[in-house]
Amino acid sequence: MTKQEFLNALRGELRSLSEEDIERSLAYFSEAIDDRIEDGMPEEDAVAEMGPVKSAAAGVLADVQRDTRQSEHRTYRPGDDSVRISEAFKHIRIEDSECYIKLLPSADGACCVEYANCGSIRHDCFVENETLVIRSVDERRWFEKLGIRDRQMRVSLYMPATGYETLFINTASGDISIAEGFAFLNAELKTASGDVKLSAYSEEKLSIHSSSGDITASVQGPGSVKADSMSGDVQIIGNTGEGDVAAESKSGDVKIESVQCSFLKAHTLSGDMIISDAACITANINTVSGDVCARKLVASGELNAESVSGDVKLTQCDGANMYLKTVSGDIAALLESPKRFVFSTVSGHISVPQTFGEGECEIRTISGNARITVK
């Protein structure tokens, strides 16, 4: 990639920001690339040292978000509907029926729970055994549940931006959002119909489950990440650890971006799958009727991609050994290194290059076509 291509791509990623923020970060990366070229590095290598465009953009976006968050905090004043928590806690447990649950870093390091428009849904909030518990107690009579609510019920937990041991949130129809700045050893988020949006550092394990909601997880840290939804879309961005990454949806789409992990698993039934910039030891990609599109997915061990009727498209991908299988879908792959090719098909047409690499690439189709090329 040339310097100009990198800067153009970065500008694209940052388009939601103000022109001033964009110009400042473009000037910064432009200088970093020029300095390397001046140091005798080829342009392409200098650009490569900036890392993926997405991670460069992530740093800039996180910085701008922090700025806006701080200014929001300065005007924040706890009202009557808020409870200040003075006891220390390591664990957080939130159980709620339908409120929108938000976790936000507090400006002054204090901990505070704020309720908005919760009406007659009462919340118990206490610290017990180093655990902060927030639990909704629905005291409404049946007729109070009827009608249209014009304002969203919201529970916001402001707490110091630091590390916590466990986070457990379970809600029926509410959304869950976790702002950037927190780290968790173990986190489990569950919602039936709500969406989940989080940005967090995962030390050991993070699991997110939604039945019909969408999941967007931007994760850092060495822990493993598992996100699954029945009909919602699942997106995992930016894991950089040695843990496993698993994303699953039945009818929703799955997207995995800029991750480093041990075991990468992506599964859909009818949803499509997009995987880009992923480095792992083993990759298992599996769909029934969805299409698979992977770019720069590299497995140091095995790379398995299976589909029934969906198409599989791999660009700049590689694995020490590879196994590609479809029934009626087509396979198109551009691999990074030569392989020994083994293939079988009933009625499809298969074309592979005449190469002899160390690893093996096995291709099986019934009626699907396969076309493999090596860089």
Partner: protein
């Protein structure tokens, strides 16, 4: 390593790299390389954070017909390094305590 500890250490590393002399992005990355692997993408939010905390200031200067940003440490930045030094003394004394020999005679 503990996350908060690591984040705090990176801030101190960047401040230490401009402690004696103003420096620029690539130079900071190169200077820190033997101690901590950091890329410009990681460095960007750190510099911005230090700038908004008024621990550093930025000036733009011409270099070989293009612009380069130089970072300068401010008193608040030097104070941060100083508090790191005293925090570190505590950590070292805890470390020594953890590693102490059994020297009590019965």
């Amino acid at each position: 390593m503990d996350i908060q500890l690591k984040r705090g250490l990176l801030d101190v590393c960047v401040l230490a790299s401009i402690m004696f002399k103003d420096s620029y992005g690539y130079r900071i990355v190169k200077d820190l390389k033997p101690y901590v692997e950091i890329s410009e993408s990681t460095l960007y939010p750190i510099l911005r954070r230090l700038e908004s905390a008024e621990m550093i200031t930025v000036r733009t200067a011409e270099h070989n017909g293009r612009l380069r940003k130089y970072y300068h440490i401010e008193p608040a930045g030097l104070e941060r390094i100083e508090s790191f030094r005293s925090e570190w003394k505590e950590i070292i004394s805890i470390y020594n305590y953890v590693n102490r020999e059994d020297d009590e005679n019965d």
